[in-house]
């Protein structure tokens, strides 16, 4: 697909749609607080970055996201392992996990802001809480999905349960864990933004709200643009790690092969 001709076509298509957007907004004199033309969005973007305003809020949101991602993933990994390995832990904990999982976690954001304040802590906790579940579930499933034949091979070699865990179950769970990290990364960003909506002094989510209050729609568009690029880059980061760790995973190989074919 990625022939020079198609790339040129794709760029042309992008320019045409942005041009059409600009043209239509001007032609029908749509007010800027309903739908701003792309030129104004670009202007807002430039102003935001040149004044340092966006960088400051962006770095704050990124910090919350990353801290939440790390804390939530680590906790999910540990608890998922505990549930997978221990029947008592599973028996006593699993019902609550299931109950909690069916709850839309963003609904907890107001409560968390009340408990942990307007600062960094509440955002990190909210991000971690949302990022936690995909890791928990995937670690649990991954550790339990070791192939029966491989387990019995390990047993035939006189492996202890501990060795079976480190040499088989853990590496075997990595495709699941990486898929969990993939989701958790984006979830952490959502968690941070939602918590900022509820109450914050800094961050892109808080900025969106204050712009909304001032009917600065082109400003909001510019931040949505930043957020989608950030989401994309974070996702790419996880994918890059995944590719290195899971070079042996069939689904990963397929993807690499496909990319090779299309390149």
């Amino acid at each position: 697909m990625r022939s020079p001709k198609n790339v040129a076509l794709s760029v042309l298509l992008f320019c045409a749609s942005v041009g059409a957007w600009e043209g239509l907004v001007r032609l029908f004199e749509v007010p800027a607080f309903i739908l701003p033309p792309p030129s104004q969005v670009a202007l807002a973007l430039w102003r935001g970055f040149s004044s340092g305003l966006y960088v400051q809020h962006l770095s704050h949101t990124l910090l919350e996201t990353m801290l939440g991602f790390i804390a939530g993933s680590a906790l999910g990994l540990i608890l998922g392992t505990a549930v997978a390995l221990s029947r008592p832990v599973e028996f006593f904990l699993y019902p609550y996990i299931v109950m909690f999982q069916s709850l839309p976690k963003v609904a907890l954001a107001p409560l968390i802001v009340v408990w942990f304040g307007l600062g960094l802590t509440s955002k990190v906790i909210n991000a971690a809480l949302i990022a936690f579940f995909p890791l928990l579930v995937n670690t649990m499933v991954g550790l339990r999905s070791a192939d029966e034949e491989r387990v019995s091979l390990m047993r035939s070699l006189a492996a202890s349960e501990r060795q079976i865990f480190w040499m088989l179950r853990l590496p075997n769970s990595l495709p699941f864990v990486m898929a969990g990290l993939d989701v958790a990364m984006i979830f952490a960003l959502i968690g941070a933004i939602v918590a900022e909506f509820v109450g914050a002094q800094k961050g892109l989510g808080m900025l969106i709200q204050s712009m909304n209050f001032n009917m600065d729609v082109s400003g909001q568009f510019s931040i949505l643009l930043i957020l989608s690029v950030v989401g994309l880059l974070l996702n790419r980061g996880v994918m890059m790690i995944r590719k290195r760790v899971l070079f042996w995973d069939p689904s990963e190989k397929e993807r690499i092969d496909q990319e090779r074919v299309s390149a």
Partner: protein, 259 residues
Amino acid sequence: MIKLFHVKKVYPGDPPVLDDITMRVEKGEFVWLTGPSGAGKSTLLKLLFCAELPSSGQIIVGGRNIGRITQGAVPYLRRNIGVVFQAPVLFPWRTVLDNVLLPIDVQGLGRDRFLPVAMDLLALVGLREFERRYPWELSGGMQQRVAITRALVHDPAMLLMDEPFGALDAMTREHMNLELQRIWMEKKKTVFFITHSIPEAVFLADRVLVMTPRPGRIVDDLAIKLPRPRSLDLMTTPEFGAYTRHIRALFNVKGGLDA
């Protein structure tokens, strides 16, 4: 090396899987156990490395009665056994060499000492150049050769093989059987091999044990008196035909299905 006396294996509510099995395998012998599907061949093999325990009877492996073995002694027993399963069961995150060294890692035998052993064995099965490759880069036949190498690396006295070439195509299978004969003649291990293919059993075995199902019993113990090394031409000789006909007749009398 292996002795079974009146071994019975029963799962509650079913007819016995194994009924009154008495057999023995001498040290250095190449013994094949053949029988139709469901005759209890795999169950019998599992008893030999304590993956299952017999309902009654005595099993002696390497001088130890493993019918009454304590859990603590199982690892000791297994160190003297190499098992090759129907599938290669390799770990995709380990290279060929690391897969071969898995028993060494598990049993803490020291990689340094066994690295040359592993390399020699890989050369023996014709995988010298492939030690840094990953299993998924190899063909099915090559993967199974890695599995055989892994079963041999810790130098067990005995090799148990549960239809290891079942999933391979006919040509590769023949080739692997010849390889196995070569390895056996070079290493002089005790090999106990399970298959439902009569010609393959006759082709390679010193002795063929014939099993029939429901209940699983050994109905014949046939010494194959053909010269070694055996080549594929052997399969067209009248002696070979006589052996296979004899075994096939036993399958049919006892109602074997896929004989």
